[in-house]
Amino acid sequence: MKNMKRFTVLITIAVLVFCMASAFAAEKKAVIRVWKGPHSPDDTGVFADVIKAFEAENKGATVEYTPTPWDTINEKYTTAFASKNPPDIIYGFTGGYVDNVVGECYDFRDIFSKDEFAFIKKGVADSLLEETTVEGKLVSIPYFTAGAAFVYNVDLLKKAGFSKPPDTIEEQLAYAKKLTVDFDKDGKIDQYGYGQLSYDTAEAKPEFFLFSFGCNLFNKDMSGIDYDRPEGLEAFKYIDQLWNKDKTAVPVGLYPGTTMTDAFFDNKFAMWVTHNQIVAHLKDNPNFKIGVSKMPKGPGAGIAQGRGTYAGSGFWCIAKDTKNLQLVKKFVLKLYDPKYQKPIAVAFGFTPSNTQTVIQQDAIGKAFTDAALNFGVPYRFGPRVNEVKQAVWRAMQALQSGQLGPEDAWQQAVDEGKAALE
């Protein structure tokens, strides 16, 4: 009986020691959580090499990479930060995606040493730093530059007798008319001239119509809207021409969500403005001849010579609530290392913001890069960016779906935009 008691005590002590050792070991093992909106179907695979290299250099540290869908990114990030359990690193992007949380991230100048900061900043133009500055804090350094460009179906344009894309927005109207066809004459259009990314993908960004006429969403100091000028109304009238008068653009809701991309590859429409992610679909459509060019020129020379389209920077931010700051910094340094930055940029079809990280691009990639670098109009950070953006989108959608005429839609966009900034 006495032996039994001793045995029980020994077993209990052994279990306790084992538990404490496990807990200690678990504490030693650091997990770095990284969240990013995906740019490729194999987003995780793109980061495999840099993660592997980091884990080999830092024994006991693991990187947990999670692609977070774009359409739920705001609530996912906001709730994670509000619960004080955010990921250690998030991928930010100018465009109103993570505006809610970037303020909860470190100023890079506060946490990196001079040498480390110089390493991250190397090759990045000073002017680009505005894109990662939030209320005076430099929450990151631009990593990628990416954006949208004018994309078209080469074969459909050829069939219609066009050997090159439209150079002006007037030409674009004529192209769209010729490319809109009812093949079987059943009264239903089988092929449209012009298409636009669906609003429900949160990627539509139709404000390039404003850029064409020389307007932006905000004025320079972001104290007011910029499209409350007659040029803004002209942009709405142009949309009205394409969608309602000529009926040469894909009606709103005809191809919801990502089916818009399928429709493009199915020859359902010929031209649109879309993002570099389209290149990821080319391997599934090897015989498709895609054309990429700068935007057709509009009369608004004041913004990107009338060829403005959305562009922005992607970057890595470090959450203030991280528990492994030293390791997290090491991983961020690894990400910004040109050796790893280059293959990541190539895989996504992006351009590294570090101009010294030179990548070889094919004609399509180069056209996207040229559009972003020469004609890109970036969003800026601000608490009301999303609200003003949505006000414009909502009004354009109301116009495109026939709920409002161009004057009323423009007036609604102006009223709601101003109300958002009050």
Binding site: N74, P256, N386, Q390, S401
Partner: protein, 296 residues
């Protein structure tokens, strides 16, 4: 007398102990968050940033918020469409099921299946079914030479597309509940009405329905609450579009908090919604009680 009170409390200690966990969770997850939302509704600021007290400003702003007014109207449009639909269709199917003798259990189980699926899954499936160009429903309509409507893009019909999806998923609950109500009506009462010369319809109107009043009231109250809380299918199917044509009150709350980072405005909308639900429930209960008294 004073010494009796602790004694009574002590006497009922088991009951209090049993309801204590429930009460705790109710307070922690319902009462406390609600009070917090009320506090937030008097503040201005972002979700994560600092907030300042602004009194009734958020409530006053709501009155001139065109989007919220549109969302309230859309929610009411949905409510007045979906509630009569579930009641009429649910009752007709329940009466049919009640009248058949064979395979009733099979049909009851079969009809219950949609309720087992999550609304998100149901909405995604419906989204594919009615895709204007690629969806099977549109293709079938095309073969029949019937022009397929633009289910998600036409602002006039988009709310009815949502009604269709919600109806498909929600109807089984009402069918099964109505069927249980129909089967609880004493057979003798119905037979007595026939002996007295009542037609089938008269018997239904004057015997069956009055006996089902508690169930009908319960269903009406729940249907109203659920309709006013509409969110999931809007989130999955339309995200409030096109141009807010399908934006509902809860969608508006979500948009304000997570997209526009306006926590005070979102919170004040929550309070308005709670008040709206309470008023509607109160009216429902009052009207049905008034009718009960009239019948008596």
């Amino acid at each position: 007398m004073a010494s009796k009170r602790p004694g009574r409390l002590f006497k009922n200690r088991n009951a209090y102990l049993l309801i204590a966990p429930n009460f705790f969770f109710l307070f922690a997850f319902l009462v406390a968050p609600f009070l917090w939302v009320v506090v937030l509704s008097f503040q201005k600021g972002t979700v994560l940033g600092p907030k300042t007290f602004v009194g009734f400003t958020n409530y006053l702003d709501l009155a001139r918020n065109r989007l919220l007014v549109k969302s309230i109207l859309n929610t009411l449009k949905y409510t007045v469409t979906v509630i009569p639909s579930v009641f009429i269709l649910g009752m007709v199917i329940a009466l049919l099921l009640n009248s058949i003798r064979r395979m009733r259990s099979f049909f009851r189980t079969f009809l219950f299946i949609p309720l087992l699926s999550s609304i998100v899954v149901a909405a995604i499936v419906w989204r594919y079914l009615v895709y204007p160009d690629y969806g099977p429903v549109s293709r079938v309509l095309g073969y029949l030479r019937i022009p397929a409507p633009n289910w998600f893009g036409d602002s006039k019909i988009v709310i009815f597309t949502i009604v269709m999806v919600e109806l498909w998923r929600g109807l089984p609950f009402y069918i099964v509940t109505f069927l249980a109500g129909l089967q609880s009506v004493p057979r003798e009462m119905i037979e007595a009405s026939y002996i007295d010369g009542a037609s089938r319809f008269q018997s239904l109107l004057h015997v069956v329905f009055p006996n089902m009043k508690p169930i009908l009231t319960f269903c009406l109250v729940m249907a109203t609450i659920w309709a006013l809380q509409l969110f999931d299918s809007v989130y999955v199917l339309t995200r409030g579009g096109p141009s807010s044509a399908s934006s509902t009150i809860v969608w508006s709350i979500y948009e304000n908090i997570f997209f526009f980072n306006r926590v005070g405005r979102g919170a004040s909308m929550c309070v308005v919604l709670i008040v709206l639900i309470s008023v509607m429930t109160f009216i429902n209960l009052k009207v049905t009680r008034f009718h009960e008294e009239q019948v008596v």
